[in-house]
């Protein structure tokens, strides 16, 4: 299925670097230092383009196209051909491509102060970006002497409202985990192991680590739970709500096997349902057993996919004893998911956050939990909008991978990532230097944090706390009345 064309111009110096870099077999060195292009194997990952010292290679969409004007698009026909040939379920990765589902972030406009309530200059004045995640105390308690009792439940303290999303070792390489862990520690935020366990070399980053517990319980044991700042129970994931994880035995080699505690070569299946959770009461029990095993010292996060009825689902979770709810939207990424699920199941994070925040406020339980939004946060403005819609913080997965080189070619499921991120091939994983990677992640999050300060300053707001759920800061454009109602915002001009 040819989708891209590899071309080179007269600037090519025949160094063959592109052939060495291409991990998909699309560029090969032929005889006499010539290049052979296998266009059908190209994934448009841009590795060759980035590495070409002469700037002589480039990838374009293939000029050929199928007949237009039918309801069947090029992709539809291509996929039918592929399935007719293989009989397989279409497998994809990264976030949903659903082109016709609106990206609501792009239809939201932020406010700025003029004349009255002046804006604040973040370069001159303090701007608070710290966020605390966890349950708020119900009230002030005093002892018999009248002294305030410290009844603050365990919480996470973030210096910036940006965290790194759960990505498992196995789906991504150990070097990516190293970069994320080091960056999170330096930034005063958190990274998340995903469900594949925590490599022992990362135990020193305990204070910046969120460990995940999924239905397969891979790599979960008492020490794992206690080598973390918080524990996340994964119920669902935005890229594939209702679908579980399946890491094929081929990827379970060496340290991946050791960390997941699954024998080499054996599949690691974590089905969507937790077979010990059939109700909010069952969830509450798992939350409490994890708290018990961690001496009630750590907050517990419950991660769900944004789906229909997300508001009552979140309300149930808030009542389960969980301290934090993480909601992953329709456009959330993945290392592998059936394409039909990825593109057709779930709802955009913007709508989910707004309705959850509204519902929890109406039920007067908003302070029982913090809410993390994820799934398609592309820049600092998206983060600000998500917080204004009601999130306490956001987490980024794809954006973080982009900082490490990813060009979103959506080929993670092939295990051949040319940037050395979504692969376990030692030839490829070595392409990421964890230290340099960490530095890039730190740069990215620092830059976003500066932008967030600037945006908040413009609005005359000097803390994230005051931005949270502040829908007055938002107006919609190109939205219908129902959308405005769910988002809880006015139209631009109102």
């Amino acid at each position: 299925m040819r989708r891209f064309r590899i071309r080179k111009d007269e600037g090519c110096i025949s160094c063959l670097r592109c052939a060495r870099e291409c991990s998909f077999g699309a560029i090969e060195a032929g005889e006499d230092r010539t290049l052979v292009f296998h266009h059908e194997k190209c994934t448009d990952c841009q590795r060759c383009v980035s590495c070409c010292p002469a700037g002589a290679i480039f990838i374009t969409e293939d000029g050929n196209r199928f007949r237009h004007g039918s309801v069947f698009t090029d992709d539809d026909i291509r996929e039918i051909l592929l399935q007719a040939e293989t009989g397989g379920v279409l497998l994809s990765s990264m976030g949903a491509s659903g082109k016709d589902i609106p990206i609501y972030f792009d239809r939201l406009l932020l406010n700025a102060s003029q004349v009255t309530n002046p804006s604040i200059d973040p370069l001159r004045e303090p701007m608070e970006t710290a966020v605390f995640l966890g349950r708020r105390p119900e009230g002030i308690q005093r002892d018999s002497e009248g002294r305030i009792v410290d009844n603050l439940p365990p919480h996470l303290e973030l210096r910036t409202p940006i965290m790194f999303s759960a990505m498992s070792y196995g789906a991504i390489s150990l070097n990516v985990h190293k970069a994320l862990a080091a960056a999170a520690e330096e930034l005063g935020t958190y990274w998340n192991t995903g469900e594949g366990g925590l490599h022992e070399s990362l135990y020193p980053f305990k204070g910046s680590t969120i460990v995940q517990v999924a239905s397969g319980r891979f790599g979960v044991h008492e020490t794992y739970l206690n080598t973390a700042a918080a524990i996340e129970i994964k119920i669902g994931q935005g890229a594939k709500p209702g679908i579980g994880g399946h890491l094929t035995g081929k990827k379970i080699i060496g340290d991946v096997s050791k960390t997941r505690m699954v024998p080499e070569g054996l599949d690691a299946i974590s089905p969507a349902p937790h077979h010990d959770i059939y109700s909010i009461e069952d969830l509450a029990q798992l939350v409490m057993s994890i708290k018990e095993a961690t001496h009630h010292e750590k907050p517990v996060i419950v991660k769900v996919a944004a789906v229909h009825n997300i508001a009552p689902i979140a309300s149930g979770i808030a009542r389960s004893g969980a301290d934090i709810i993480s909601i992953d939207g329709y456009r959330g990424g993945t290392g592998a998911a059936p394409k039909r699920i990825r593109d057709n199941v779930g709802i955009p994070i913007e709508l989910a956050i707004a309705s959850v925040d509204q519902r929890l406020r109406e039920e007067r339980i908003r302070d029982r939990v913090s809410v993390i939004a994820s799934g398609g946060i592309r820049n600092s403005a998206d983060a600000v909008k998500a917080i204004a819609l009601g999130a306490d913080a956001v987490s980024i997965g794809t954006a973080a991978l982009c900082a490490l080189g990813c060009h979103v070619c959506a080929s993670c499921h092939t295990g051949r990532c040319a940037w050395g991120l979504a692969t376990q091939d030692p030839q490829l994983t070595g392409r990421l230097d964890p230290e340099k990677g960490a530095a890039r992640l730190i740069n990215l999050v620092n830059a976003w944090t500066r932008e967030i300060k600037e945006i908040m300053g413009g609005m005359g707001i000097n803390s994230i706390e005051a931005l949270r759920g502040n829908r007055m800061a938002l107006r919609g454009a190109g939205l219908n009345e129902k959308e405005l109602e769910i988002l809880g915002i006015g139209y631009a001009g109102e």
Binding site: L82, G88, E222, L225, V262, P263, E292, A293
Partner: protein, 238 residues
């Protein structure tokens, strides 16, 4: 031996015990007893609540009566021995150690059990188990003895559905109800019974001080995944 009256001293007192031989008396549904315990012995009197010995990482939990749901959830090491029966979701995701139940087990016993390296989950049920026994089994050994149920079904429906490694041994000649066509049922030969089943069953019998011979009477069948019929989907990468 130290004694803790859980109704008076609370779970906090149990939590503070690390190591040593402790009797926990008066249990009446208290949850999370022995959660994450690493060593020592807890002797439970009465009926503990859900999630007993979850994340157990070593040591021994002995229960005189019955246990409720989610006992030994995600257990990593140690021994849980129950003289009575167990509720649902027993030994979920268990990776190592031993869970012995002299009576019956409810639904979903041994789901997601696994093995890794020198760790291998072992679950022995003296009586019968409910439906969904050993679903998604990824390793380890489950033995159901069916004591007192001779000639009757000793597992419920959907036994071993979705399992892809590990073995379920049943002391019966009868095929489990609606056994999936992706699983293999085979008779257990003498060598396998002597080498694999006997040591486990003898240990089980000695924990409860019952004669091992009666637990080994009659033959065993084994249920395993049919490696030629993978559960993994056929995928076509886009």
């Amino acid at each position: 031996m130290k004694e803790i009256d859980i109704r008076k001293d609370g779970l906090e007192a149990v939590r503070k015990q690390s190591g040593g031989d402790v009797a926990v008396t008066g249990c009446l549904g208290e949850r999370y007893i022995g959660c994450g315990m690493k060593d020592g012995i807890l002797r439970i009197k009465g009926t503990p609540g859900n999630a007993l010995a979850s994340y157990l990482d070593g040591g021994t939990v002995l229960v005189d009566g019955n246990v409720q749901d989610a006992a030994a959830d995600t257990m990593n090491d140690g021994l849980l021995a129950v003289r009575g029966s167990a509720g649902d979701a027993l030994a979920y995701g268990m990776r190592g150690g031993r869970v012995y139940v002299l009576g019956d087990a409810g639904y979903r016993a041994g789901v997601h059990m696994k093995a890794y390296g020198d760790r291998k989950g072992i679950l022995v049920i003296g009586g019968r188990s409910g439906s969904f026994l050993g679903e998604y089994l990824a390793g380890g050994t489950i033995i159901v003895l069916g004591l007192g149920y001779e000639g009757r079904d000793i597992t419920g429906y959907f036994c071993g559905n979705g399992m892809y490694a590990g073995t379920i041994y049943l002391r019966t000649g009868k095929a489990p109800l609606n056994l999936s066509d992706k699983l293999i049922r085979r008779a257990v030969g003498e060598d396998e019974e002597e080498q694999v089943i006997r040591p486990i069953v003898e240990d089980f019998a000695s924990v409860f001080s019952i004669p091992a011979a009666s637990c080994l009477e009659g033959g065993f069948i084994a249920i395993e995944a049919d490696s030629s019929k993978s559960y993994s989907q056929l995928y076509a990468a886009v």
